[in-house]
């Protein structure tokens, strides 16, 4: 069963059409890696999945719910921002530039959602946050502020922060692109573990090695449309489309 199903998704910024009918589906427990040249619309698509952007046409379904809508009496009603917020709870997102809350410590960052969105008692939330930091290998950094952490550590805190909401889907937008090369591994390791634990993930990345290791499916996007999709060994090793071949020749 598909946890995520996108059908004919279109999105324009002003007069430029950034997504031109994207179709994509992700089964529960699957990891899908999204590859493609800069400007292909990968980030935009990811942001549409958790409704950080609204779409102009098509539909995205997550866990049976139309993103940005509620179904009543056979009609789709557009959600208010408050209700959209509720829908986003189940979808975790990790950004290229971490976006940790700089005025809160690592453990406070992780507990922020549970306490102020889920209304979990603070003591319980902090305990769970510590456990999550332990899971990403940062038990000893609980009391550190983001600016006291390396990029790799910040990104792992950001992953823990997303996990604290117990999401059924995790979106990663180039999670290692802003990192020094020697810090990429520690973040990818956490993501590999997450994939092994059965988390459903959509990962925009240029890390072909990671895609080969954990992806169930690799989707190649160019100019706002999916050009090629399939298992990693097929798309990465025997691409059928010329655009894919050209891109991979540059990245590999």
């Amino acid at each position: 069963m598909s946890l995520v199903r996108a059908v004919g998704v279109r999105k324009s910024f002003g007069h430029t059409e950034v997504l031109r009918g994207v179709d994509l589906s992700v089964d529960a427990g699957q990891v899908v890696c999204l590859l493609g040249p800069s400007g292909a619309g990968k980030s935009t698509f990811l942001r549409c999945v958790n409704h950080l952007e609204t779409i102009d046409a098509g539909r995205i379904w997550v866990d049976g719910q139309a993103v940005g809508f509620t179904t009543r009496g056979g009609k789709l009603f557009e959600l208010r921002e408050r209700e959209a917020a509720r829908q986003r709870r189940g979808i975790g997102m990790v950004f290229q530039r971490f976006n940790l809350f700089p005025h809160r410590t690592a453990v406070e960052n992780v507990a922020e959602g549970p306490v102020h969105v889920l209304r979990t008692p603070r003591r319980v939330a902090l305990e769970e946050a510590r456990a999550l930091l332990d899971r990403v290998g940062l038990a000893d950094k609980a009391g550190s502020y983001p600016h006291q952490l390396s990029g790799g550590q910040q990104q792992r805190v950001a992953i823990a922060r997303a996990l604290a909401m117990r999401p059924k889907l995790m979106l990663f937008d180039e999670p290692t692109s802003a990192l020094d090369p020697e810090l990429v591994g520690e973040v990818l390791d956490v993501m590999v573990d997450l994939a092994r634990d059965g988390m459903t993930m959509i990962v925009v990345t240029h890390e072909v090695g990671f895609a080969r290791q954990v992806a169930d499916s690799v989707v190649f996007m160019v100019d706002g449309a999916v050009v090629e999709a399939g298992p990693p060994d097929q798309v990465l090793d025997n691409p059928r489309q010329q655009r894919t071949q050209q891109f991979l020749a540059k990245v590999l």
Binding site: L52, R82, F95, F101, H103
Partner: protein, 286 residues
């Protein structure tokens, strides 16, 4: 670029081991001269003041005079209430200014234009004389009262000072909100925060770093600005000083006592600002 001097070109005989050379420290003659001039000027000034026809012994008495203390309390209360109201109103106006609703944005811009544009003293006088044009004030028939009962000197001063300040606060808050990286809002949304929670937990605490220093400055101005309320007979520090002086004619002495109170109150406000800045500076690399 590219230097013509290759390594080894420097002649070795110019470079002796450090301990063989006598070190001549730099003498800052200029500093001595400037320091001396400043001290001389201050000395002359102090001497002149000591020699002035001021009865310094009377000042402490005026400093703790009953009327002066009432003026002090009124000054502080007026400044605090006006500033607090201005902060709340300013926040509302700043949010309207960023609203998706064009009518709200226009209103907010017009509000700032109007209340920032008029002199505070003029605004205070307008409010104080409101009874000349509106005899009664009524709110949808639910409430009615004579204007000159409702708009006392305190209320007029509060409106004049507070509304003017709220226009400045709106701009300060707006700058603060704009200073927060948009990625912060996205991160908050991504963990399912509502817009209100995002504002309260993520955006405002970070905006505070930008908001507090100019607000502290403005509050100090507000403390001094309350003196304008003396014009409409409100018993703040200056009015209190005049009041006392009108009986004993020791004008300079009573004004000095009021001046001392202003310095005390402003100093306390500065210290408070320092601690607020430290609190909201959490998580910022120094």
């Amino acid at each position: 670029m590219g230097s013509d001097i290759a390594p080894g070109d420097v002649e070795q005989k110019d470079i002796a081991p450090a301990d063989e050379l006598v070190v001549v420290p730099l003498r800052h003659w200029g500093r001595w001269v400037v320091g001396a001039v400043i001290l001389a000027v201050l000395g002359a000034l102090g001497w002149a003041l000591a020699d002035a026809k001021i009865d310094y012994a009377a000042v402490p008495g005026f400093f703790t005079h009953d009327i002066m203390l009432r003026g002090l309390v009124n000054t502080v209360v007026l400044a605090l209430v006006a500033q607090a109201g201005a902060i709340v109103l300013g926040m509302v106006i700043a949010l309207l200014r960023r609203s998706a609703n064009p009518v709200a944005r226009w209103f907010a811009a017009g509000y700032v234009w109007l209340f920032r544009g008029l002199p505070v003293l003029l605004q205070i006088l307008l409010w104080f004389n409101l009874a000349l044009v509106f005899e009664n004030i009524s709110v949808f028939g639910l409430f009615e009262e004579k204007t000159n009962v409702l708009v006392t000197a305190f209320v007029a001063a509060l409106l004049g000072l507070g509304l003017n300040e709220s226009a400045y606060m709106a701009e300060i808050v707006r700058a603060g909100l704009n200073s927060v990286d948009h990625g912060q809002v996205e991160a908050a949304k991504a963990i399912g925060m509502t817009p209100a929670t995002t504002l309260r937990r993520v955006v405002l605490p970070q905006a505070m770093r930008v908001i507090i220093p100019p607000t502290g400055n403005n509050f100090i101005n507000m403390l001094k600005g309350t003196s304008m309320a003396s014009v409409i007979g409100f018993l703040e520090l200056i009015h209190a000083a005049n009041n006392i002086a009108s009986r004993n004619l020791q004008i300079m002495e009573t004004l000095l006592a009021a001046a001392a109170w202003y310095m005390v109150v402003v100093s306390v406000a500065s210290v408070g600002q320092h601690f607020l800045e430290r609190y909201y500076g959490k998580g910022v690399a120094r």
